[in-house]
């Protein structure tokens, strides 16, 4: 794929127009997941296990079914058997089979004529449990005496003799660790822990499903990826893929947590049984107990450094729990832990561990922030003990184009050095600090993703442009697509309409995940536009009686490509469109691929904070995000991604955590106690967009969504270290923990 941006002057890209869906979203008109209703619709509700681990001996729904208004009850018996692999995992997660595997695990569901009746009916379903021993901590789950979540869940990678809760094992590395550490002037070893965090999207999961006895269905839901929903629902219910049409609503945040299903197959199963559409909306406590938070991690890091700041060797062991199923993103953690740096001798070990917690789901750069917390904390400590500047030291070790990554391949052009230099030059880095204040620096990386992508563009009869993509707009991506289409066609931004197509109108699309939407759907939009432009040129060529090759497209007009082509007045897109019915029919362009030219994005953050020495509470004073966007299509939404990622990371670093009681129940399943940052907790979040163009995208785009959550965890911890003089190795840095550290209680 040729990179046009080095040579190209942009007319629309890089500007900040109003987003196309702005009016709908400031007037309450935009339809989110819970805003859909259907004629004849029933309301579903889900009965959830109060136990962390229990055998389900008996479910008796007789009394519930006798309640007036109740139309159907489903249990696992209403789902097909014989599934394997991840299909089985998802089925087991959306409706428990023989055992309830975590507090909040679905065990039955009811559909009734009102939400209140459905909730009343849940209380009438009698479930007999045999409570089993449970485990929620990753290290305890690996211990010999830990209760077994499920025998036989481990894959081929796990060496014999390990606990059955260890379901994947991985090792990777290169070089000679021993020699590397021997070459160091200082070698540090330390263990670190991070707690599970939730994506915390403000919109709970919601869907309306309709499924007939003929195996044909429709589903409206809030999701990051409706083809994923289709695949998962049809697999779980034993349907043919294309017989289920999934239409995405507007989506009220996802951050990775809406790339899978929790309630959708249940609504469809209820609908099939009741012969009516069924709506299910999760409550906030259901979201926190029974959707997919991220993993918690326990890590051991060893790093060596020379006196002048060169990292000589690094090794890490990463243990992560992903709930009661395989899938903790430890593969990504091991891959990215040391990826910022050029290290010859490096080794990683990873354990994917099951516990009695909900099945983890992706959360913004899944797996990366935990490793970054450990490694960037240790790097900071190495700098501190050797008296080195943390940015200069990072610059000395930073990867650049051609560096062989710690995970294998050579880096294409990347912007870590540029972000470090911009951070160093920012006034914040030299702003004097007061008493009890500290400054922390950290860098982070996300490799980004391409993924299966389909898009089409169609020319309207007036020459306006309709773009159909399959990646839901979660943060302004319609604006980015419209800008790229406007640029490609040379038509005004306002003449482009971007639609998020349902699964019945485009080929497969992966979700808006992996920081891929602006990259992959953008690329597909531009390529589809090129195809349509070829057709527009052909119509002009036919009209002029010349070869299509002799026509060029410029600023929304077809023109003869040079004097040899003949002299004809340029034809505008509107003129060609007005005649297209009689000149060969509708004009559109399509593009399908799995683009692999996604360029990774590096970022560097600086945080200044103050710790109250008497209470241990941290207040963020100043925050700077510097990140490589490749090319910022709509800079305001790029800044928004930087700021949002940083603040989610601040939350994870300071206060957000899953707290389980001794009974294995989640103690904080409401926003009162699951403490996401509020407006008064924060200062403005300063941003610098670095642009090192990605050669894999026609306009140089890199995904920017995920990198931003990776540096804050270590940056905040490093700043707290700077402020209180004690290194904290366990997140979150809650006031009780920080005060205990200040008082020397560790």
């Amino acid at each position: 794929m040729a990179l046009d941006s080095d040579t190209q002057k942009f007319k629309y890209i890089g500007t900040r127009p109003d987003r196309p869906d702005g009016l709908d979203k400031v007037t309450g008109r935009a339809r989110f997941g819970a805003d859909f209703s259907m004629p004849g619709m029933l309301h579903g509700a889900i009965l959830r296990s109060p136990h962390a681990h229990a055998k389900i001996l008996k479910i008796d729904a007789t009394k519930a079914l006798a309640l007036r208004g109740v139309k159907a009850v489903v249990t696992r018996a209403d789902f097909p058997t014989g599934l394997t692999g991840e299909d089985w995992n998802i089925q087991e997660n959306v409706m428990a089979g023989e055992k309830a595997l975590y507090d909040g695990h679905a065990v039955a569901a009811v559909a009734a004529t009102s939400q209140l009746i459905a909730r009343d009916a849940l209380k009438l379903i009698e479930v007999e449990y045999e409570v089993l021993r449970h485990v929620t901590d990753v290290d305890k789950a690996m211990a010999d005496d830990a209760p077994v979540i499920r025998e036989g869940a481990a894959d081929y990678s796990v060496p014999e003799g390990m606990h059955p809760n260890i379901v994947r094992y991985m090792e990777s590395g290169r070089g000679d660790l021993e020699a590397g550490f021997a070459a160091a002037d200082l070698v540090l070893e330390q263990s670190y822990k991070t707690e599970a965090a939730h994506q915390g999207y403000i919109e709970p999961h919601a869907c309306v499903g309709q499924l007939g006895a003929d195996g044909k269905g429709e589903l409206w839901c809030c999701t990051q990826g409706h083809w994923f929903v289709r695949q998962m629902c049809t697999a779980v219910l034993g349907l043919e893929a294309t017989q289920l049409r999934v239409t995405p609503s507007e989506i009220g945040g996802g951050f990775g947590g809406k790339t899978t299903v929790f309630i959708d197959p249940v609504a469809l199963a209820l609908s099939r049984k009741a012969n009516r559409p069924v709506k299910i909306v999760m409550s906030r406590s259901e979201v926190l107990r029974a959707s997919g938070p991220t993993s918690s991690a326990s890590m051991d890091i060893k790093m060596g450094m020379t006196r002048d700041g060169k990292i000589t060797a690094a090794s890490g062991t990463f243990r992560m729990q992903g709930g009661a199923f395989p899938g903790a993103p430890v593969d990504v953690t091991t891959m990215l832990a040391f990826a910022n740096y050029d290290i010859a001798d490096v080794h990683h070990i990873g354990f994917d561990v099951m516990t009695n917690r909900p099945k983890q789901a992706a959360y913004r750069a899944p797996g990366a922030p935990m490793g970054a917390f450990a490694v960037e904390s240790m790097l900071d400590e190495l700098c501190r003990q050797l008296g080195l500047d943390p940015i200069d030291t990072r610059l000395k070790n930073a990867v650049k184009e051609g560096t062989r990554a710690t995970f294998g391949p050579k880096f294409p052009p990347v912007g870590l050095i540029e972000t470090l230099e911009a951070a160093k030059a920012h006034p914040q880095y030299n702003t004097p600090l007061g008493p009890n204040q500290g400054r922390g620096v950290a860098s982070g990386y996300w490799m980004n993703w391409g993924g299966e992508t389909s898009a089409s563009v169609a020319i309207g009869e007036d020459g306006t442009v309709q773009v159909s993509i399959g990646t839901p707009d979660i943060g302004g991506s319609r604006a980015s697509m419209a800008l790229m289409a406007a640029e490609a066609f040379g038509v005004p931004y306002d003449n482009v309409r971007v639609n998020i197509a349902d699964t019945g109108t485009l080929g497969i699309n992966e979700p808006t995940h992996g920081s891929r939407a602006t990259f992959a759907s953008g690329l597909a939009t531009v390529e589809a536009a090129k195809e349509a432009i070829g057709k527009l040129c052909k119509r002009a060529a036919d009209k002029w009686g010349i070869d299509a090759e002799a026509v060029t497209w410029e600023d929304g007009f077809a023109k003869p490509s040079g004097p040899n082509a003949g002299e004809f007045p340029p034809l505008s897109i509107a003129e060609i469109a007005a005649e297209m019915g009689s000149t060969g029919g509708p004009i559109s362009g399509h593009f399908e691929s799995s683009p692999d030219g996604f360029g990774g994005s590096f970022g560097t953050h600086i945080v200044d904070l103050e710790v109250d020495p008497e209470t241990g509470r941290s207040t963020i004073l100043r925050y700077l995000v510097v990140q490589d966007a490749g090319k910022a299509i709509h800079p305001a939404y790029v800044e928004g991604q930087f700021q949002g990622g940083a603040v989610q990371g601040i939350g994870w670093a300071l206060n957000e955590e899953y707290i389980y009681g001794a009974d294995g129940r989640l103690q904080n399943p409401i926003f009162l106690d699951y403490r996401v940052p509020v407006a008064s907790d924060l200062p403005m979040i300063d941003t610098i967009i670095v642009e090192v163009p990605n050669p894999g995208h026609p306009y140089g785009v890199r995904g920017v969504g995920e990198t931003g959550i990776t540096p804050p965890l270590p940056a905040v911890a490093n700043a707290v270290r700077d402020a209180i003089g004690v290194r904290m190795t366990q997140l979150p840095l809650t006031p009780p923990r920080v005060l205990a550290a200040i008082k020397g209680r560790g």
Binding site: R16, D18, R19, D21, G22, L23, K25, V26, T27, G28, R29, A30, R31, F32, A34, D35, S114, Q115, L116, Q199, G200, Y201, I202, E203, P204, E250, I251, G252, G253, G254, F255, V281, S283, R284, I474, G475, G476, H634, A636, Y637, E639, G640, Q641, Q643, G644, A646, V647, Q648, I670, F671, L672, V676, P677, V678, A679, S680, L682, M684, I685
Partner: protein, 159 residues
């Protein structure tokens, strides 16, 4: 179960509905009146996505019973623009890219409007504390605060 008949005013229009005594004002607005601009993010008054005003007072509609709206005046996001003309806050939110997913936006707009009616020239700190009950998970609040400040300035200059 017997339902309660409620007559109330929503965005200036008289509205009647029948509700179960357990239903919240949010439930009634969304399911009985058909106004889905107010959102349920938590159901416990912790996120502000359901913000409306009740007789001019900013409240979480999830913490008000539908039955309590009898004889009251309710204003929702659907009543914020005047015909085709957006409220300055609505316009500034679009201009400043102060929304990403947009689910918190109706509640924040209602809350910010209530602030500026009470205090046309709030400091950044006052604004942040006033809006502390409106969670936004996408933006980190930066552009929201800038949009409210800009709208406040425009409204002061216009008055």
């Amino acid at each position: 179960m017997s339902k309660i008949h409620v007559t109330t005013t929503v965005n200036g229009d008289e509205v009647e509905y029948l509700c179960d005594p357990r239903e919240t004002l949010l439930d009634c607005l969304r399911d009985r009146v058909g106004l889905t601009g107010a959102k349920e993010g938590c159901g416990t008054g912790d996120c502000g996505a359901c913000s409306v005003t009740l007789d001019g007072r900013l409240v979480c509609s999830c913490l008000v019973l539908g039955a309590e709206a009898e004889g009251k005046e309710v204003t929702t996001i659907e009543g914020m623009a005047t015909g085709d003309t957006l409220h300055p806050l609505q316009r500034k939110f679009i201009e400043h890219a102060a929304l990403q997913c947009g689910i918190c936006t109706p509640g924040i707009l209602i809350a910010a409007k209530a602030l500026l009616e009470k205090n046309p020239d709030p400091t950044e700190t006052e604004m942040r504390y006033w809006l502390a009950g409106n969670l936004c998970r996408c933006t980190g609040y930066d552009k929201i605060i800038r949009a409210v400040m800009d709208a406040a300035q425009e409204m002061r200059e216009a008055s």
